[in-house]
Amino acid sequence: METLVFGCLAVTALTMGWLVFVLGSMARVTFALLAALVCVGGVTMLLGLPYLGVVLVLMTVMEMVIMAVFMIAYMMNPAGLMPMSMVHNRYGAMAIAAGVFLALAAGILLVPWPARPAGEPPADTTFQLGEALMGTQMLTMTVLGLVLLSTMVAAIVLATARGRYDRYGDRLERRVPRDPAAGGTGGAGR
């Protein structure tokens, strides 16, 4: 039964992953990728990691919806109504990808994997993860936190074209910053 569910999830994930690079409509492309990643979350749950699986689903849904917005904002042909090719070096990429898959598959099938160790997995794997992140893996957790914080700062610096002189005036004389759009702490929309 477990194997059957896993097979369905794996086949769906691979099909959807393939459709990502076949479909024309950007909305469909994004949601094909979402379906593939939700299947990955399902596999993760099936393998006994319910917390990580559900979090993966939660995160990818939010990510993909935001991604759809960016795709449609930047792509020339977001709805795929005019068929056009947006690829380069297609056959080279195919050859490399096929080569990588064959090498990985050979490794997977040829390496003598060790047998499953005697110990049973803990009853609550979420607890195991939390204890590790707050204990032995504290350094990993701290680094991940710092990476996320610097990502937030860097992404905002890169994405915004306006600095404090645009917001507060050339002499920084405004008390309330002036922004083109409301929704922050600025003075627009009031």
Binding site: A27, L34, P50, V54, L58, V61, L81, G184
Partner: protein, 311 residues
Amino acid sequence: MTEGTAPAWAVVATPVLLTLLAMAARSGDALLAAREAGRPVTAGAALRPLLDIPRLLAAQPRRTPVLDRLLWRTGVLVVPVSAVLSVLVLPLGHGAAPAGLSVGVVWFNAMEVMTWAGLWLAGWAPNAAFALVGGYRFLAQALAYELPLMFALIAPATAAGSLRVGDIVAAQHGLWFVVWMPVAFAAYLLAVPAFAFFGPLRYPAAPDIAGGVLGEVSGPDRLMLTAGRWLWLAAGAAMAVPLFLGGGAGPLLPGWAWSLVKTLAVLAALVWAGRSLPVIRADRYLELAWVVLLPLTIAQALVPAVVAMAG
């Protein structure tokens, strides 16, 4: 208590109960509308909106040019289906939940995030300007409500030391979480109409854009999407009870009855507030959510964390 498995019929009973709650909310809303309009507040006024169900099932669907039918149907179905899936982790009273997932709170959150995908698709797929504006409006609103909601959900889970909804109910033995987590409760209640795009937060489906995400959808699809809206309102009210209001705890009545009474009370309050408050624009709500609510909910989450450390 929380380890037991629910009987098989609970998998059917929970969705049926949720649907009944959603219908009750719809009828209550119609009664409030009748009172506002000066019409007689009768049983007929309460039942009239339910006539929409056969009417929409039989209606001829309207189509827009160059629509994306697959995505439209997906989006319209995702909203009610995820609402039903989200409540499967809720225990009825003191019993076990139909799906006693060890990560119930995260499951509810993940299902609620599914409405992001559903509503954006419902806005994008009909290839109509106002519907698309509605879809984008929901995303703006979603970015606003999601973070305070997440911290509001974390607070009771931290206090209980578990993500299982049944354990959270058990941890409130004696003192309901609403008493010492009022900020989290308020932030949660503010998020419920946001993901149900209802009342003051019906901005994605507001009348100024001709119904927004609901503007083009018709026939059975419209039934599904509007049902999803009311189902989510009911699901949000149902989740508030085990998280903050002690689940099935209460004197005299059995646990399941107390769960229902409390859910109905929360639902009634939400419907009444939805009728009484004006629509708030997403940019204003975003400012409120990120500048005011987010720091407050983080500070609120600190309280159970400190208590858990000390205790």
